[in-house]
Symmetry: C2
Subunit: 940 residues, 2 copies
């Protein structure tokens, strides 16, 4: 490992690199090289490559051979260009040392400014600038920054010295301190360094440079950076580049300044130069928020020529990169220097607007536009969000409390609650709750479920709170370090403000902001999202995957259609069963079912026996048959059973008519009843308590008897593992009357509407099939019913018959199953549960999140499809199914149907469509187009 040839190139001058070298030079280095090449005013400098960083780690934190020498050579070249000397007391060159990875990781890694100063060069700087104070100020900033980043001394200790000096000098601002004050500060800073490190502050500029480079390399692996990469799925082996840039100073008087600007508004996407500018300041002053910056337009007033030069540069950069740029610049004594340009981070709506505008401006192609917007981002555009005006009002009133990590998007207001149990309690009264915790752990999940949003003081993007909240789809602001949360006392404080339990706050998970008070939310109107609609129409041109929606009610189907769904991929009939007026009927049916089906099975069995009986057995069998028939005819349960089914038939027929009407001309896949029947009954535990109470009290014998009967019925139906029990198609095979009722309702609805001239396209889907025979039997049953209904109504509606693939065995035997199925729909939720042998309900709170946090699983497989395991089964099923039936239509209707990474996989393995929740239809349309584009690129 240690035999790296020193001939390898580790260092590039800005004049030597270009935009295609991002891997090697990092984003910042490539941008600086690019701008240098384009002749823009960039301070001279050079970049040490990401490869050098990786080698540095491979060598046990040692520079690779040759690197240091190349850096010194580059430094000599920079000296030549700048006309200054590094460490030259007469004409000192100062540099900044900046991290810069391939992908932007803002604020995660370290930077050192003003490097090259010591007492000699400080004097030179004072002479050259003619400003003693300026030189001392630069020196004390350097010592503080270098000590914090390189020597690991707490910055606060330096701040304390500065504050003390200010107090003593009765100075309000740093700028009120004189050169004399600052000279004192510098000497006290040096004493502090000696006290903390046992050595003097390093005076040799080359030693400073060497240490700073090592520190920047080291910052690639600090915890913040690792967490950030984990969250943003940036590989850990990219390494960071190090940029050494000639210092320019924006704080050399009123003809100097510094600023940050975007070529387009990063919040709205509007095409206008947008940014901030501060006269006579250095970059860190802008960041520190000590002085309030002016809008960039102020520069037009103050330095019209420089402004015009900047506007031109901004235009050139956007044209060059064909994307909105985020630029840093400094003006030193009237001369503009560009310090950075990079693709601008932007809000979801800005991303959409920029992409569409740039196509309309002829800047990029539609394909490029589609790739500019992260599919998951547009979810935000459809979520309720805070009214920005109301938010601004609160901000002006001083109700802004703090900003944390935007851990899970969305907006929520509610009463502050500190205990998860209390959150449940308050929420159960119908009140909105924000759960505030120092941090969360698995015991808090029930409270998180009850809350509208979650706010934590500690923890990053992969903290428990963040992961769970995203899983729950709830807004979360995490790691809001300004908060001091005192759970015992029931309050939290920010600076000196104390907020108590039950006060209302608002959190914006999209921005990370926290406000005191309630902010009204607004529901975005899809029809008004002009740019989004345009972008999605382009997506529709390019994608091959169909996008359908999961919807159980006409209102959901209508929304899905508005969002562009091309069909309903999953209509769950059980949700209809839970409606208030129906539940008693459903329960009547369920409680009568065991007796009714047992009697029917007995009749059927005896009829078969009779048919097969030898002559001398026949008499006895006939007798038994007559007895059984008598029992059947007089059974109350049989009457209850068929009475309830008849009522449900009416309800369901109307349900299906509603959905079919809304989805006229589009396919609607109706899944037959899936959950175990006991889900519709009262909970066993509750009944057990009631019965126990009644039994001990002994005062209501009749009620006790009734409850006991119910308890027994529920007990008979209980299952140890209901997910793997009597549900799915097993239900319909054991209770064929339920299946018949449902199929009759679907067909009757379809036929009657068809008679009205409505184009209805029903598809009947059988859940939880594991063996082809299950499907075959249901299909036979169905076909009988089709004949019956067709005759009754007098019209024939074409329909499709298919199955969920949600059991591993179905995927493994898809060739057999395709004999009887015209379509497959992957139920990836259940397929993931069975493939992993993980019950989602049980696992998420108990070990799954820990698995993800501890990197045992790369992601939660219920959110992002597991390609290696579940995906392999899907690929097998697609291949086997199409072998039997080349025109087999295949979709996915699990939650993964709305997840971009999973959608990409669906595209790759050749599915026909994905079906997702209505709100995710736009995401899926975009993600499907991106998958198609990625496929084209891969194939090139």
């Amino acid at each position: 490992m240690a035999t790296i040839e020193s001939a390898r190139r580790w260092v590039y001058l800005f004049t030597q690199g270009d935009t295609n070298m991002r891997d090697l030079l990092g984003g910042k280095g490539a941008g600086l090289a690019d701008m240098t090449k384009a002749g823009l005013p960039v301070p001279p400098g050079f970049t040490i490559t990401t490869e050098a960083c990786n080698q540095y780690y491979d060598l046990g934190e040692d520079f690779p051979p040759g690197m240091w020498k190349q850096a010194i050579d580059a430094l000599r070249e920079v000296e030549r260009e700048a006309g200054k000397g590094f460490g030259d007391p007469l004409n000192p060159l100062l540099v900044s040392v900046r991290s810069g990875a391939k992908f932007s990781m803002p604020g995660m890694m370290d930077t050192v400014l003003n490097l090259g100063l010591n007492e000699d060069t400080r004097q030179g700087l004072a002479r050259l600038s003619g400003d003693e104070r300026f030189a001392y100020d630069a020196y004390r900033r350097f010592i503080q920054g270098f000590s914090s980043v390189v020597l690991n001394i707490d910055s606060k200790e330096f701040e304390a010295i500065l504050e003390e000096t200010k107090e003593r000098a009765r100075a309000k601002l740093d700028t009120d301190l004189t050169a004399t004050h600052l000279k004192d500060v510098v000497s006290r800073f040096k004493e502090l360094v000696k006290a903390r490190t046992g050595k003097g502050f390093p005076d040799d500029p080359l030693e400073q440079l060497r240490l700073a480079i090592k520190a920047v390399f080291a910052s690639w692996n600090n915890k913040r950076a690792i967490d950030y990469r984990n969250f943003n799925r940036i590989p850990h082996d990219l390494g960071t580049a190090v940029n050494i840039v000639t210092m320019v100073f924006g704080n050399m008087g009123s003809d100097s300044g510094t600023g940050v600007a975007f070529t387009r508004d990063p919040a709205t996407g509007e095409k206008r130069l947008y940014g901030e500018y501060l006269t006579n300041a250095q970059g860190e002053d802008v960041v520190a928020g000590i002085r309030t910056p002016q809008p960039i337009m102020a520069l037009a007033q103050e330095m019209p020529q420089v402004y015009q030069q900047f506007v031109n540069i901004a235009r050139r950069l956007e044209l060059h990169y064909r994307d909105a740029q985020d630029m840093e610049f400094t003006i030193e004594r009237g001369k503009l220097y560009m310090l950075q340009t990079r693709s601008a981070k932007r809000t979801a709506s800005a991303a959409v607007k920029m992409a569409v505008d740039m196509v309309e401006e002829g800047l990029i192609t539609k394909e490029a536009a589609l790739q500019r917007v992260e599919a998951n981002q547009i979810y935000q555009l459809l979520l309720p969000r805070f009214d920005e005006e109301a938010k601004d009002r609160l901000r002006r009133q001083g109700s802004f409390l703090a900003k944390g990590l935007n851990a899970s998007p969305g907006a929520a207001s509610g009463k502050v609650v500190f205990h998860p149990g209390r959150a449940e309690e308050v929420a159960s009264r119908g009140e909105s709750v924000i759960l505030v915790r120092p941090e969360t752990n698995p015991d808090d999940v029930h409270g998180m479920i009850a809350a509208k949003g979650i706010l934590t003081a500690r923890g990053g993007a992969t903290s428990h709170a963040a992961v769970v909240a995203r899983g729950l789809g709830k807004p979360c602001v995490a790691g809001c370090e300004a908060l001091r949360v005192d759970v015992e006392e029931g309050r939290f404080s920010v600076d000196n403000r104390v907020i108590s339990e039950n006060e209302e706050i608002s959190i914006d998970g999209t921005t990370g902001e926290v406000f005191l008070g309630r902010i009204p939310t607004i529901d975005p109107k899809f029809s008004e999202e002009r740019e989004l609609i345009t972008l999605l129409s382009w997506a529709d041109e390019i994608r091959r995957l169909g996008v359908w929606a999961n919807a159980d009610y006409p209102r959901d189907a209508a929304r899905a259609r508005e969002f562009g769904a091309e069909g309903i991929g999953l209509c769950r009939t059980e949700h209809m069963f839970f409606e208030e007026e129906r539940l008693p009927i459903v329960r009547q049916m369920i409680l009568a079912a065991p007796e009714a089906t047992a009697l029917e099975d007995e009749l059927a069995r005896l009829r078969r026996e009779l048919a097969a009986a030898s002559e001398h057995q026949k008499g006895e069998v006939k007798k038994r048959l007559a007895e059984a028939q008598g029992k059947y005819d007089t059974s109350h349960k049989v009457k209850d059973y068929y009475g309830a089914l008849a009522q449900l038939l009416k309800f369901q027929t109307e349900d299906f008519k509603g959905i079919f009407r809304v989805m006229e001309g589009k396919p609607v896949v109706v899944r037959l009843l899936d959950p175990p029947l006991h889900e519709f009954l009262p909970r066993y535990e509750e009944l057990l308590v009631e019965v126990t109470e009644l039994r001990i009290r002994g005062d209501h014998p009749a009620q006790l008897a009734e409850k006991e009967e119910l308890l027994q019925a529920v007990a008979d139906m209980r299952e140890a593992n209901p997910m793997l029990g009597l549900r799915g198609c097993r239900l319909g095979l054991m209770n064929s009357a339920i299946n018949e009722m449902q199929v009759r309702a679907i067909l009757t609805a379809a036929c009657e509407l068809s008679k009205e001239g409505i184009d209805v396209r029903p598809e009947i889907m059988i859940p939880l099939v594991g063996h082809v025979n299950e499907l075959r039997l249901v299909r036979e049953q169905l076909e009988k019913m089709v004949k019956k209904v067709t005759e009754e109504v007098g019209v024939m509606v074409p329909y499709k018959f298919g199955t969920m693939i949600e059991v591993p065995r179905a995927a493994l035997t898809a060739d057999e199953i395709a004999e009887y199925a015209q379509f497959f729909s992957f139920g990836t939720n259940d397929l993931t549960q069975t493939t992993f042998a993980i019950s989602r309900d049980d696992a998420e709170g108990k070990f799954l999140l820990q698995y993800v946090q501890r990197n045992i699983l790369p992601e939660n497989p219920f959110q992002v499809l597991d390609r290696k395991g579940v995906g392999k089964l899907i690929e097998m099923a697609v291949e086997l199914g199409r072998k039997t039936r080349p025109d087999l239509k295949i979709g996915v209707c699990g939650e993964h149907g709305g997840d971009p990474s999973s959608i990409e996989f669906c595209h790759q393995v050749g599915l026909d469509y994905v079906s997702c929740s209505p709100f995710r239809v736009p995401i899926a349309r975009l993600a499907a187009a991106q998958a198609a584009l990625a496929g084209v690129e891969r194939d090139r």
Copy 2:
């Protein structure tokens, strides 16, 4: 379909066929042809082929073209040989028409005797035999048999006429009736036929023949035959042949007779002619049991020459077929005729003895011997069985009650109980119970579980009772039609005997016999089963698969070793946890675990945070760390947790020492803790009732508080689907101290024994792995512990590390998993559950048995490995695993490891061993050898 060329051959004379034509001629036809060819005295006859039968069905129950003509031609040839004429009044040829499929289906299909009789030929028969009575007797038998089989008239109606006649004549036996009586019987029989069919009894012999052939074809598809084939896995498309055989009469005086004999004793396998003989009788008299037959030796007395001829024939037949034969013969006026020879059905112990004896006699090869014994059969040899002497004593005392279907092997005595609930109740008092039902259904399963055996009056080999009993491994006699069961009155009757609830009975599921009273059982001693031990030693020479056993205790391991197990493939540590003295300690550990692990996780988290903290954060993190450490140090739960673990460590170390000692020199695979921890706690429902009671009574507040705490703890651990929850390796990853304790116990036991000079071969197995990272982490943990224990004890024991493959994802990603596993063991129970998404506990009572009965599933996949689904996953895993690690050792440790069909599959896909319950080890040894032999045959 109807264009069958009439040139095809549908009919073979006995002189034309041979032993290789079983497919075409059926077993009986081939045997008759064979004997004819060998010059044995067989009455002339011919066979209509099985193909003709299949064509008959394909043509909608019509003879294929040409068949009838060929039959007539053959009949003419038979006439010539017999020197008689079919329908010739002077010298009539009579024939029997007998079914005969490829595989013997005794009693399942129909036969007609004496065919060719009408009033004219009856007279001829009387003249020729010189016996008027004989001719009338033959005629009335013919009418009765033909009418029942061909005309579907209940036999009982004919019996009634005969009985009435006997009463009128004051005759005790049929033989007491005179020719005059029988003449009257014949004419009343004919009247009955006319009354029932509206037509006279068919007089034309050819018409009789045509109808009888059709009836035999039809009997292939009667219910009994279909059920029998289903149960015995005989394909339904083989068809039956029809044999037309010249009638010979054993009832023509004292120089005539009929009998059945075996070349070896079918019960013991002893090499001696064994059989029964009845002078002056026809075959049906033997079957009907009207007269008690004599042992075959009687023939040596009565007709020494014929006996000697028969002995010679028997010897020739056994030599020819190289297998024990079951022969039917008739002696007509001193002349011997062979009517059938076939491979003899035999008991398990006879099968073993015959196979071994024949090898020792040089009759067959060892390979042939191994294929002569059905592997599953030898299970019976190891089951407790009735003391035969005691059984005979009861029989002599008249305590034999009835014989039903031997639906599930084994012997059981107990109190008669009719209600499943009562069965549970009585069994819970420690009493043995036999559940007696008219038939069973899924509601009875709990009672079947409680009972020692099951007896039903109705239902065949695939009835609910039979299927469930075999599944439960309990003896069952089913379809015992002599029983009249009156559940309401709590009694059953056989003939005129009434047996009431609580009386003791004994059932022999191996023979189908039912006795009144208790019969002592005896446990067979394996070491005394000389022939079985010999046979299995041959199996060991031939099999490639290793045979290991699943055993949790030293006593089971010792038994397994005695039975020939070559290792322990699954030692379940959780069973040790359930022992009475340990359960309280286990509970203490479990109840303390959540707090202890949470505190540890917090400490670990804070230590990581401290390591990653920036300088200015460190102070605060240190403070929090100190607080957490304080909490941890003072926590009672932490003390409880580690206290309990320390105690368990001692127990487990001794447990493992016990097993390792017994298995010296053989591998022992120890599986780490698998079941969810809540399985060790009191049941939630019971606690809920207790707490509710205490709460309402309000008189024991302290006890209430304690129970409430326990209830809460149990509630926190409950899972909706525990099978898919926090269990398997997930447990050890979330509670690493438990894993460490177990691994330490295994290694300490191994190292300490090794120090004593004992050869210990531990293999540590991780359950429920779904992702390679799970295995990797446990392995890292393990290796640390290995180092520790090795240092402590001062010796190093080689060990293996591997995993169960019981989750589909593990099979799908076996290439990754094999990186960290030295062996795989397929947990086919769980793999079947997850591949099918079927919870066995829930399904077997609720739908799985129905699925099997209704042929939705071909078999219960928990008994016979599902090759298409689960098997496909196994094949994939084997291939992927060996790709990564060519020397990967692979076994199976689910219940399928003891099932012959599944063992064959394991052999085929190249596993290294199967591991099964100790009692099944001999089966597995034999089945593995059979699989190897089948493989050799296939490869030829």
